[in-house]
């Protein structure tokens, strides 16, 4: 097991003070901080290897291409893909989902087809489908979420039996709920439904093996797992990728171009139009090495300890109301709550000003689930490897102080 206090030393940002206080960073579900190993890898790439990929015959370009393609292999191994060709680099989860919605959905959905989502989706797994549904006159259905934050799994058959696509989150960025992905994919397959999993909140926190889950598509972002901003991944079933047409078009993704038409490059490059962000792919591969060194199982155990402690200690604060499952084993390391009638934005500003605590306030890009619980906004504290029990205690004290300052005792 690792010591978060020692790990913190790898993260230069923690040398910063916020309003004269040590930074307590609890917005890891939005993006995580970056260790110096990742920052150095990016710097090193630009200082020693920078060149465009896949085209040069000179040394630098060859090395740059090797680094980029090696990063892809590191990602493939990390997520348990059987073949590195099943890993497509994108900018983020949002782009990965859009790739599927357009390159697959737009070409395969017909009028009246059924797209199934859940009530706990992030906007990035709702809006692209709404767009495709309106273009193709397809219909969207949402699997409901229970009052304590679980998917209504009893209804799965009813929703999936005549569906075309089922897109759902592995772990909710608001409730923390970890969905039973294996079961869900298995049921979808029985009905011949294409599956897409939004893994943005799962890959950084849980051991994930995309081959054993066996979804058709699995999307995630590098920046939520210690990697740089601007690099994301779409894992996809190779057979489907071979059949699918491109998403974005331009350079890199073609084999031959004439003035009349073009033929596509091979998978995965068919889906990577234009010059890719090589340095960020390299940064992501370095982040994966870092995570592998400390061990994803250990990360999960560490977060479980933090969430268990939060559920026990923060819950004792008067007028604090938590949403999501109360069973720590069913959730990732994040906690969304409201405190009395203090508006989350007022509270978040207070926590930042007085305590240097960074938390998220708002609907966290998931308005439908907030609306479902009758809330306009919540505060979300989300943990990662460098957070400690002591920080949760500071948060707890700060929340009690907020009750006094906002006269909400």
């Amino acid at each position: 097991m690792f010591d978060p206090v020692i790990l913190r030393k790898d993260f230069p940002i923690f040398e910063r003070e916020i309003n004269g206080k040590r930074l307590i960073y609890l917005d890891n579900a939005a993006t995580t901080q970056k260790p110096k190993q990742v920052i150095d890898a990016i710097k090193n790439y630009y200082e020693k290897y920078n060149a465009n990929v896949h085209r040069g015959v000179y040394r630098l370009s060859i090395e740059s291409t090797e680094l980029y393609e090696n990063a892809r292999k590191i990602v493939a191994e990390f997520i348990g893909a059987k073949d590195w060709r099943e890993v497509i680099f994108t900018r983020n989860t949002t782009e990965s989902i859009n790739l599927v919605a357009y390159a697959y959905g737009l070409h395969n959905l017909k009028q009246g087809d059924k797209i199934v989502l859940t009530e706990m989706e992030h906007h990035s797994n709702i809006v692209p489908w709404q767009n495709i549904a309106s273009l193709k006159k397809a219909k969207i259905y949402y699997i409901p979420v229970t009052d304590n934050g679980y998917l209504e799994t009893d209804l799965i058959d009813k929703y999936l039996k005549d569906a075309s696509i089922f897109a759902f989150t592995h772990a909710s960025n608001v409730l923390g709920t970890i969905n039973p992905v294996n079961e869900l994919v298995k049921t979808a397959k029985e009905y011949g439904v294409i599956t897409l999993i939004d893994g943005a909140q799962a890959i950084p926190h849980l051991p994930v093996n995309v081959s054993s889950i066996d979804a058709d598509f699995y999307a995630f972002s590098g920046h939520k797992m210690l990697g740089p901003l601007g690099i994301g991944v779409l894992y996809a079933n190779r057979m489907l990728l071979e059949e699918m047409g491109p998403f974005l078009c331009g350079g890199e993704m073609i084999r031959e171009v004439s003035l009349e038409n073009s033929s596509w490059n091979e998978v995965p490059w068919k889906f990577e139009a234009g010059t890719p962000s090589v340095a960020d792919a390299v940064g992501l591969s370095e982040a994966i090495k870092y995570l592998t060194r400390i061990g994803i199982d250990n990360i999960k155990r560490h977060e479980l300890k933090l969430i268990e402690y939060s559920l026990q200690s923060l819950i004792k604060i008067p007028r604090l109301k938590v949403i999501g499952p109360m069973e720590p084993n069913d959730r990732t390391g994040l906690l969304s709550f409201i405190l009395a009638d203090i508006h989350p934005h007022d509270l978040a500003e207070f926590l930042d000003n007085k305590y240097g605590i960074a938390v998220r306030a708002g609907h966290h890009c998931a308005m439908p689930i907030h609306t479902k619980y009758g809330l306009a906004a919540t505060i979300r504290a989300s943990f990662y490897i460098y957070n400690t029990i002591e920080e949760i205690d500071i948060l707890g004290n700060a929340l009690r102080e907020a009750l006094r300052v906002f006269k909400a005792e």
């Binding site: 508006h343 934005h345 007022d346 000003n353 306009a376």
Partner: protein
């Protein structure tokens, strides 16, 4: 952090003045602030160029709601022309607390709704800068 100004804002947040709707208002305008999800809706009755009644509805952070509540108190009996000239500084003076740049949007939402409503009523065009004082 506690101060009389903050206490007053919290009081207006919890007990908003002139809260509700007016039937057949002369001016009715609504807008929202995507950052905090604040919503403000203003209803105004005008008589002889003077604001004779104001009500507002909304939800959101303490600053946005207190700003709207305090603004309605100020508006009743005010000439339309004077209301049109209310500035961002007037709102900040009215609230009397330090605001960070992100929170300015919360504080100024009610002014934006008011001005959009007034200009629409007067059939005049409102420039974007003008709307935020």
């Amino acid at each position: 952090m506690s101060s009389p100004e903050l206490d007053e804002i919290l009081d207006h947040y919890r007990n908003p003045r002139n809260y509700g709707e007016i039937e057949n208002p002369d001016i009715h305008m609504r807008d929202s602030n995507p950052l905090c999800g604040d919503i403000i809706e203003i209803f105004i009755k005008v008589k002889d160029g003077v604001i004779s009644d104001v009500k507002f509805k909304g939800r959101g952070c303490a600053i946005s709601q207190a700003s709207a509540s305090k603004l309605t108190e100020k508006l009743i009996g005010m000439k339309i022309e004077d209301a049109k000239n209310l500035s961002r500084q007037d709102i900040l003076d009215m609230l009397g607390i330090e605001l960070s740049p992100v929170r300015l949007k919360c504080a100024l939402l009610s002014l934006k709704v008011l001005k959009t409503g007034l200009y629409t009523y007067l059939g005049q065009k409102l420039e974007r800068d003008e709307a935020e004082g």
